[in-house]
């Protein structure tokens, strides 16, 4: 959708606050995400990560401050988001095929009156190829492994040709090898797309992501290279130890 004559920030939160039944969840949060940024939103559970996501999606309204998505209220422009929800939010026994799930991403603007069109199907096939799931297009959803499940949801997010990819805990329920594969895929997609991902683990993120927003009621944005022990303990509390995954000894052996 090349309606990108708008050249301002993709997402802009200004002095946003939010509370659930009187308990403040977010206070004075400001955030700016620009075209082709790769931002990771991290923080402890209950820290407000999911709330930020729902604010960007326009599913929740801020108590104070403003949220802008492509320079407009999110409800008007959220069709430009490719959204990948949490694995756990879906019923794993639901009777749908991989292709059925991906085609759902073609619903909405400009959809045909009856059934999916040939171009819908072609786009779905292409999205499945991007995530290397095309051979499994007829596989029922409930026969997929965790990693395949995530890839199908990613294909569904990509099939509407979005300008912003929003992912909620994309690596929960998958093992480390699949996680790396997924991040490499996102890294490639980032050549064209803006990506925001919400996650509770910092581990792999730092290799691929160029900005990190730490949320625990308040929000601090850092370039990835500045992630320090103090920053992590400020967000997660002091009893977290940092483990360097990239520290290998000589001959690839851990010291």
């Amino acid at each position: 959708m090349n309606e990108t004559r708008y050249s301002g920030p993709v997402v802009e939160l200004k002095h946003v606050s939010f509370a659930y039944h009187g308990t403040p969840v977010l206070e004075d949060v400001s955030l700016m995400v620009n075209h082709r940024d790769f931002l990771s939103v991290v923080g402890p559970n209950g820290g407000g990560k999911t709330t930020i996501l729902k604010l960007i999606l326009g599913l929740k309204k801020p108590a104070g401050g403003t949220v802008r998505l492509f320079g407009a209220p999110p409800e008007k422009t959220r069709y430009r988001i490719g959204y990948m929800p949490q694995y756990a939010s879906l019923d794993p026994l639901f009777p749908v095929s991989v292709l059925d799930v991906v085609l759902m991403g073609r619903l909405g603007r400009g959809m045909s009156l009856w059934g999916y069109s040939r171009s819908d199907r072609r786009c779905a096939e292409e999205a499945l190829e991007k995530v290397e799931m095309a051979p499994l297009r007829d596989r029922p959803f409930f026969q997929l492994s965790g990693g395949q499940f995530q890839r199908v949801l990613l294909a569904r997010a990509l099939v509407s040709d979005p300008d912003l990819l929003l992912l909620d805990e994309p690596t929960s329920n998958v093992d480390a090898a699949i996680e790396t594969g997924l991040y490499e895929l996102l890294h490639r997609l980032n050549e064209r797309l803006t990506i925001i991902l919400v996650t509770h683990d910092l581990g792999f993120v730092s290799h691929y992501v160029d900005k990190v927003a730490c949320v625990n009621r308040r929000l601090f944005t850092h370039p990835t290279c500045e992630i320090t022990g103090e920053m992590i303990s400020a967000v997660y509390g002091s009893h977290v130890q940092m483990i360097r995954h990239d520290a290998k000894g000589r001959d690839g052996v851990f010291p």
Binding site: L59, Y79, L90, V96, V101, M104, G105, G108
Partner: protein, 284 residues
């Protein structure tokens, strides 16, 4: 069984019963699949029980005020649609109280029905047939009505298949794509309500949930996709209603209860066979 087949040629009420079973099976298979896939059989249960309120009120109006056009079926349809909308709106707006409202609609519907039936003069033989169904009492007129409702459910269910499937699978995602999720969900519940009314005439209020869900639940063990589940569950539903009717005929058992027990036994056998295979379904 031979007695059933022999009498089929002789008695029109048996042919009507058989035809009614076939017709309701179509709506039952399609809407039951949505109910099972979306896991909302308790909503269907509440709608079914609230139907008694509508039937009781209509019967009361018919007898006490002489409103001959006020057929109990009209009351049933009204009550079912109102319940579907009330439950639907509450579940969309205030999710945390959904189960309470389902319970309330369930019980209040029955209470209203019982009060009206109690206040309706004359012998109330109807109560039993409302509660337990009586497929052998289906008239030619009922059949036309059943066929009409069936057509409505079938056409709407198929036209909006894509949207209903997506709303059932992932409501939030569909909302973000810009579809009117609330409208589709309420429409789906209304179609389920109409299906429930159709099934009440076959197995009665109390056993509707079983007839709505058992064919679809059985079919789910053999299907990869929702439309396959729908097709198979229509077939299972025909099998259960026809088989139940035939089995009940010679010993003079209540048809509704026999249909449900037949359906329940088949479902349990399939479920047990699947669990013996480590919970796997019967698909390649």
């Amino acid at each position: 069984m031979t007695e059933f087949i022999g009498d089929l040629a002789r008695f029109s009420f048996l042919r009507y019963a058989l035809l009614a079973g076939f017709l309701v099976s179509i709506a039952c298979g399609i809407m039951g699949s949505y109910v099972v896939a979306r896991r909302i059989s308790y909503i269907a249960g509440a709608i079914a029980h609230s139907v008694l309120g509508g039937m009781g009120a209509a019967r009361y109006g018919e007898v006490v005020f002489g409103l001959s056009w006020l057929h109990p079926l009209l009351g049933a349809i009204t009550a079912a649609l109102i319940s579907a909308l009330v439950i639907g709106l509450v579940s969309l707006r205030a999710r945390e109280r959904e189960d309470t409202v389902i319970g309330a609609v369930w019980a209040i519907g029955m209470a209203v029905g019982i009060l009206f039936i109690f206040k309706t003069p004359g012998y109330n033989e109807n109560l039993m047939s409302y509660l337990f169904g009586n497929i052998l009492m289906v008239s030619r007129e009922d059949l036309w009505l059943t066929a009409g409702l069936n057509l409505l459910i079938l056409v709407t269910g198929l036209v909006f298949y894509r949207q209903f499937l997506a709303v059932c699978f992932d409501e939030e995602f569909v909302l973000l794509r810009g579809l009117k999720v609330q409208a589709y969900y309420l429409l789906l519940l209304c179609l389920i309500a109409l299906t429930v009314v159709l099934l009440v005439s076959v197995v009665g209020i109390i056993m509707v949930i079983a007839l709505l869900t058992l064919p679809a639940a059985t079919a789910s063990y053999f299907s990869r996709r929702l439309w396959q589940m729908m097709g198979l569950s229509v077939i299972f539903s025909v099998l259960f209603t026809t088989g139940g009717l035939a089995l009940s005929y010679a010993p003079g058992l209540p048809a509704g209860a026999t249909i449900i027990i037949f359906a329940g036994v088949v479902y349990l056998l399939v479920a047990a066979a699947s669990s013996a295979r480590g919970g796997r379904r019967f698909i390649a």
